[in-house]
């Protein structure tokens, strides 16, 4: 029996569990990015605005990033009080990772906005909040969205680790393949779907970026 027909048979029999794994993977990977993105805006603002926060937040972010994901997944139930098999653990862990990255890129993005533009906005009569939302934030978007792309792709790959502690996602297909003595079909399916998911998510963000920041491309088309 050829490898492809073997693959096909596996999908034929297990398609519902594969779809379920994919759906769960999407949730577990993207929900944390969404939460982290929303939280990163005020935190990034604070880091950009107040010098004291900068050091604390960025050091904390670096520390979080050095904790191995498996260790973090096992640590969270102890701290938060969730059960060890609760998917919330994964969401919290990945939110922390995403946040560590996104706070930094959001602060960098806000800091990269040309000061003369901000001065001009103030001199035109913008009040601080309006200036932040309609001038500084839009101009920081290219950098912020670049960070979001990295966080999203990283999350899609990191969710697989959750299978090691028995939580769903495409990682389950890997563990199943290992349990069946390196049985290739589930491993290959998991791998391909994982890569495709990362690719699609990345493309979606790029499209959003093009839609949000038409001006950023004007420079090249001069």
């Amino acid at each position: 029996m050829s490898f492809f027909s073997e693959l096909w048979d596996y999908l034929d029999i297990n398609h519902s569990s594969v779809v379920e794994a994919l759906t769960q993977h999407i949730w577990l990977a993207l929900l944390p990015v969404a939460i982290a993105f929303v939280l990163a805006l005020p935190l990034g603002w604070a880091v950009d605005r107040f010098g004291v926060f900068k050091h604390i937040a960025l050091t904390l972010g670096s520390i979080i990033y050095t904790i191995p994901s498996l260790a973090l997944l096992l640590l969270i139930p102890g701290v938060v009080g969730t059960s060890i098999l609760d998917p919330t653990n994964v969401v919290i862990a990945l939110t922390l990772y995403s946040l560590a990255l996104l706070v930094r890129t959001t602060a960098d993005g806000l800091g990269s906005v040309d000061d003369s533009v901000l001065q001009a906005a103030t001199a035109m009569g913008y009040k601080p909040a309006k200036r932040w939302f309609t001038v500084q934030l839009p101009l920081a978007m290219p950098v912020i969205l670049a960070g979001l792309r990295v966080a999203t792709v990283a999350n899609v790959s990191m969710v697989s680790v959750a299978a090691l502690i028995g939580i769903g996602g495409l990682g389950q297909l890997f563990t199943r393949g290992f349990q069946l003595g390196f049985y290739a079909p589930p491993i290959v399916i998991g791998l391909v779907l994982s890569v495709l998911l990362a690719l699609v998510a990345d493309i979606v963000i790029v499209l959003v970026q093009r839609w949000l920041t038409p001006w950023a491309r004007a420079a090249g088309a001069r």
């Binding site: 003369s116 533009v117 001065q119 001009a120 906005a121 001199a123 035109m124 001006w215 004007a218 420079a219």
Partner: protein
């Protein structure tokens, strides 16, 4: 709109005095230039007018009203502001940049845009440029957009912080002339900061020279600055040839004319049948006049012609180009001498009464 500085001081927490007890009145509808070396407080003074910086002590009044009593954002919307690199919003099209302040004031975007397109033409751009992003324009064009944006809400006052220093000299000259032309149409109260004394002299109706520590060294018309600098600092800043440069501000029409047929050291002006000058006829043959001048020429142009002329006389022509008089070097010298003497004499009493000398 008259802007008044009433003993304004800006002192920073570290003790640096950026502006020291500044007292001056900026006239309505004219261009007033703040000039001086970097760190002299000229930009700080400018930025106190729209409350980008608040003074440590003293008051700033616009038409008699203390600006400290007005909400900063609202005050700023009534004062146009142009900065060095234009400071345009990169994420908005040119026309939306220009429409910024009217939209902030509550005008509908559609109406504001319509007016913005008109403003682009006022500052010498085309309406088509309105749909581009700032990055697609040259530095000089961006600066014009900056001026249009400052004018969009038709503010009575416009502040310009080194508006032309980031563009190359040729473009700068064009923008300066354009500003003078524009000011002729709009007649705003303009305060412009520059470190370039030539720009100050070219653009200013009044020039305020700032020295280190935010001291106002002299506040006078540019002509006065060149002819009678208040101290060595101002004289040094104004630089060389100040006597000659000052002649740009006086008209040649003040001078006594000699008849066209006056003989000068064996030379006589030869004219054609219509009376147009052909050259100076003398023992050497026909020598060129090296140019003529008409009504409205500056004293500087006339002086230049007398220097170039083989007869030492500048030839004046009427509107049709017919020679109608000569100005001799000797008459010019007499005129300049009495002019400068009168000017310095007028200044002299102020030195005997120190109280009247003041900051200006």
């Amino acid at each position: 709109m008259v802007i008044e500085f009433d003993s304004v001081t800006k002192r920073y927490p570290d003790g640096t005095v950026a502006v020291g007890d500044l007292a001056m009145t900026i006239p309505s509808g004219r261009i007033t230039v703040f000039v001086g070396p970097s760190g002299c407080g000229k930009t700080t003074s400018l930025r106190m007018i729209n409350r980008m910086i608040d003074p440590t002590s003293g008051r700033i009044l616009i038409d008699g009203d203390d600006i400290a009593g007005r909400p900063a954002a609202q005050l700023r919307r009534s004062i146009g502001y142009v900065i060095q690199h234009a400071g345009l919003f990169p994420h908005r099209t040119v026309v939306d940049n220009v429409a910024t302040v009217p939209v902030l004031q509550g005008m509908s975007r559609r109406t504001a845009r319509k007016r913005a397109y008109e403003l682009l033409e006022l500052v010498g751009l085309t309406a088509q440029m309105g749909d581009r992003y700032p990055v697609q324009l040259s530095g000089g064009q961006q600066q014009r957009v900056g001026v249009a944006r400052a004018l969009a809400a038709d503010p009575p006052v416009m502040l310009m912080d080194e508006p032309f220093s980031a563009v190359d000299p040729v473009v700068r000259e064009g923008l300066q002339s354009e500003l003078l032309r524009l000011q002729g149409e709009i007649g705003k109260t303009i305060v412009l900061v520059t470190h370039d004394i030539d720009e100050a002299i070219k653009l200013g109706d009044q020039v305020a020279v700032f020295a280190q520590g935010g001291r106002l060294a002299q506040y006078a018309a540019p002509e006065e600055l060149l002819a009678a600098p208040a101290d060595d600092f101002v004289a040094g800043l104004v630089g060389r040839d100040r006597g000659y440069r000052g002649l740009s501000f006086a008209e040649g029409a003040e001078l006594a004319l000699r008849p066209v047929d006056t003989e000068l050291d064996g030379l006589r002006l030869e004219v054609d049948a219509d009376g147009r000058p052909l050259g100076w006829r003398g023992a050497e043959g026909l020598l060129p006049t090296e140019g003529t001048f008409g009504a409205g020429a500056s004293l500087r142009a006339v002086t230049d012609l007398t220097i170039l002329s083989p007869a030492g006389a500048a030839v004046r022509v009427d509107a049709e180009g017919r020679a109608d008089g000569l100005i001799l070097q000797s008459d010019l010298a007499d005129h300049l001498r009495s002019r400068q003497r009168a000017r310095l004499a007028a200044k002299a009493p102020a030195q005997r009464e120190p109280s009247a000398e003041g900051a200006g």
